[in-house]
């Protein structure tokens, strides 16, 4: 709460008769003293921001950020950007939980689901959107879902989106067969020993919901879901745990089908592998965001976010990681490559994608992640 609002509330209480004159003047005096003491230090603290820490997925994404956002930002502000990486969102949240406030500042996180988890742990901040003018280029639907979680405010800016669809080797599975079987391709007994799956409980439950004809955001028959997960498990060669492993399994033909991240499949296709990709009806759509963690130097972070959201940076990152940017194609010319990426929506409405409902998934996180962990290990 800023000082003007605090004063207005005190005045309102005084006018309503909730505060006597002596208390009102006393509180005003105390507020003035606090402001007088705090302001010089606050200014000093802002001026003393020497660096901002950013954590992301590394690789080409980091290189694009460095070239198009971090270096120009440092040149303009004198604030250094320390660039770190993490292997998974789960690993990162553990690091944040163990850290001191302000130690980590901005992270390239997955989806609304993680945003809600951070909010539940009291790790969200409140962005001053006036300091991020490039936010106007972002698809409104992507920001709206975040606002719903944090009562209308934002602790992040949306950055890119994609899908977790089904990848298949065209040498062994035709496009027609894949389309006909849809999500059930991943429980096809003929593919025993030639299937892969991401060892992520959310994705497993999402696809098991599709395989059992249920709404992935509101499955009613969880017994059927667990049975489908067991069926899938018994047909698998391996649960993969990273994008690199996914690509290796598909490229080396260890597996013929798996669910996969759209950008990774596009990268394989660019390398010449004959891998097909499809999003079955109600396939898993997701978005990534640049999240500002509580305790960070806000103005410095907001300015950096603005650099990162600039169309040139967003497009370079999108082309590097093969996921469409969060920029509205009706407001920004996205070039030639991005419209060809899987999951890209030229309308900017994203109506064709189904995103995870954070309330539903977070509400079951503790129970389902544990249950899946057991089933994964043969139970």
């Amino acid at each position: 709460m800023d000082n003007s609002k605090r004063y207005e509330r005190l005045l309102e209480r005084y006018n309503n008769g909730d505060l006597d004159r002596r208390s009102f003047l006393g509180l005003i005096g105390a507020a003035g003293l606090a402001y007088g003491v705090a302001t010089p230090f606050a200014k000093h603290a802002l001026a003393a921001t020497e660096q901002v820490r950013f954590d992301g997925w590394g690789g080409v994404v980091s290189e694009a950020f460095r070239k198009y956002a971090f270096d120009p930002y440092t040149k303009k502000t004198g604030i250094k950007v320390v660039d770190g990486t993490f292997g998974s969102g789960d690993e990162y949240i553990s690091r944040i939980k163990a850290s001191q406030p302000g130690e980590y500042n901005i992270a390239h996180l997955s989806g609304v689901f993680d945003y809600a988890r951070y909010n539940n742990l009291g790790l969200t901040s409140v962005l001053n959107e006036k300091n991020i003018p490039n936010l106007e280029f972002v698809i409104p639907k992507l920001t709206d879902v975040f606002r719903k979680v944090t009562d209308g405010t934002l602790s992040c800016v949306p950055y890119d989106y994609g899908t977790t669809g089904i990848a298949y080797n065209r040498k062994h599975i035709s496009d027609e067969e894949a389309k006909e079987k849809g999500a059930k391709l991943l429980i096809d007994k003929e593919l025993k020993g030639k299937l892969g799956a991401w060892g992520d409980w959310r994705t497993r439950i999402w696809y098991a919901s599709l395989q059992t004809g249920q709404d992935p955001n509101d499955a009613k028959d969880m017994d059927a879901v667990w049975t489908a997960i067991r069926t899938n498990r018994d047909l698998l060669l391996k649960y993969w745990s990273s994008g690199a492993e996914l690509m290796s399994l598909l490229a080396e033909e260890e597996i013929y089908a798996t669910e996969a991240w759209s950008g990774r499949v596009y990268a394989l296709q660019e390398q010449g592998h004959d891998i097909g990709y499809m999003d079955p009806p109600n396939g898993f759509g997701w978005q990534e965001c640049l999240f500002v963690i509580k305790g960070s130097p806000m103005e410095a972070c907001e300015e950096l976010l603005n650099f990162m959201l600039a169309p040139a940076t967003s497009i370079a990152v999108a082309e590097g990681q093969n996921y469409p940017p969060a920029l509205d194609p009706k407001k920004v010319d996205l070039g030639k490559k991005i419209p060809k990426l899987p999951a890209f929506d030229p309308t900017g409405t994203l109506d064709g994608l189904t995103f995870a409902n954070p309330t539903y998934w977070n509400g079951h996180e503790q129970e389902w992640s544990k249950e899946f962990g057991r089933i994964q290990k043969g139970y």
Binding site: G193, L237, K238, E365, Q366, K370, R374, K377
Partner: protein, 289 residues
């Protein structure tokens, strides 16, 4: 201060940096883990501070954890046995070789220069569907379709043996180096065959090294996390994977703490059994002290 007092204090002064380091880096973090194991994870992922026995009750009574623990101990025991069987002849060969011992020891140390993860992943290029062995067999016309060799219990043991064999060989080698070779000659001169002299003289004298290597391999294998992730199949998880999952995936640090302490206690008990039968002094001998 008398000379006796000064002499009595001297070892403690010399030991103090190590004691401080052990206290700060091992004992205190371990105490934190003990305290954590009695807390609870709430539905939002935050921890509820207090004294709850729920995690310990779950860890000790749930058959799921017991089964994975037994599976882990089984894999560790198989790995240790394979390491001993492969490591003893190699160590014997190095210990008895003349002239090129330094080169052989250097070759033994060579794998340590490469990351354990890279070494583990190298098996994918050897055993994979389009790996070296399948490619060779197909090109020789022995098979027409690649054989599926990866992602099972055998490849986990293979990866662990690859990682741990040098530890076993080094321990046995050090032990064999300390044995006077003329003892074998003496046994032979008294009518024993080479095999008998090995069984009756060399093997009993080198048992300390074998046991030290075995203990080391077993403990390291039982605590492994990355090998089952890279080389294991869908259901091949070891106990350390459960700890990782509880702490990282489920953000359940209290349960993860209880599980990690459970593994620590089991492996600690194993060390106590070792100490009971062989004594820690034997371990020092095995390590060449």
């Amino acid at each position: 201060m008398t000379i006796e007092t000064r002499e009595a204090r001297q070892p403690w002064i010399l030991l103090s940096p190590s004691l401080v380091a052990i206290t700060l880096l091992l004992v205190i973090p371990l105490l934190f883990i003990v305290v954590y194991s009695f807390w609870l994870r709430t539905a939002t992922g935050a921890d509820q501070v207090g004294f709850f026995l729920d995690n310990w009750t779950e860890a000790l009574t749930d058959a799921f954890y017991r089964d994975i623990l037994l599976y882990t101990l089984k894999i560790a025991a198989i790995t240790t046995a394979v390491c001993a069987l492969l490591g003893y002849p190699a160590a014997y060969f190095i210990a008895r070789s003349k002239g090129n011992k330094a080169l052989l020891l250097l070759l033994l140390m060579l794998p340590f220069w490469i990351s354990y993860i890279i070494r583990t992943m190298s098996w994918i290029n050897i055993l994979g569907v389009s790996g070296a062995i399948n490619s060779l067999l197909i090109s020789l016309g022995i098979i027409s379709e690649p054989i599926q060799m990866l992602y099972n219990q055998v490849t986990i043991v293979l990866g662990l043996v690859h990682f741990l064999l040098p530890f076993m060989i080094l321990n046995i080698y050090v032990s064999l180096e300390g044995i006077d070779v003329t003892l074998e000659d003496a046994a032979c001169s008294l009518g024993a065959t080479r095999w008998q002299s090995f069984l009756e003289v060399t093997l009993p004298l080198s048992i300390a090294g074998l046991a030290a290597g075995g203990l080391l391999c077993f403990v390291l294998a039982a605590g492994t996390y990355i090998t089952p992730v890279i080389l294991g199949g869908p259901s091949d998880a070891m106990f350390a994977n459960l700890v990782f999952e509880a702490i990282i995936t489920q953000l359940d640090w209290p349960l993860g703490s209880a599980l990690s302490l459970m593994l620590l206690v089991v492996l600690g008990a194993l060390v106590l059994v070792y100490n009971h039968f062989l004594g820690m002094g034997q371990l020092m001998k095995g390590l060449g002290k």
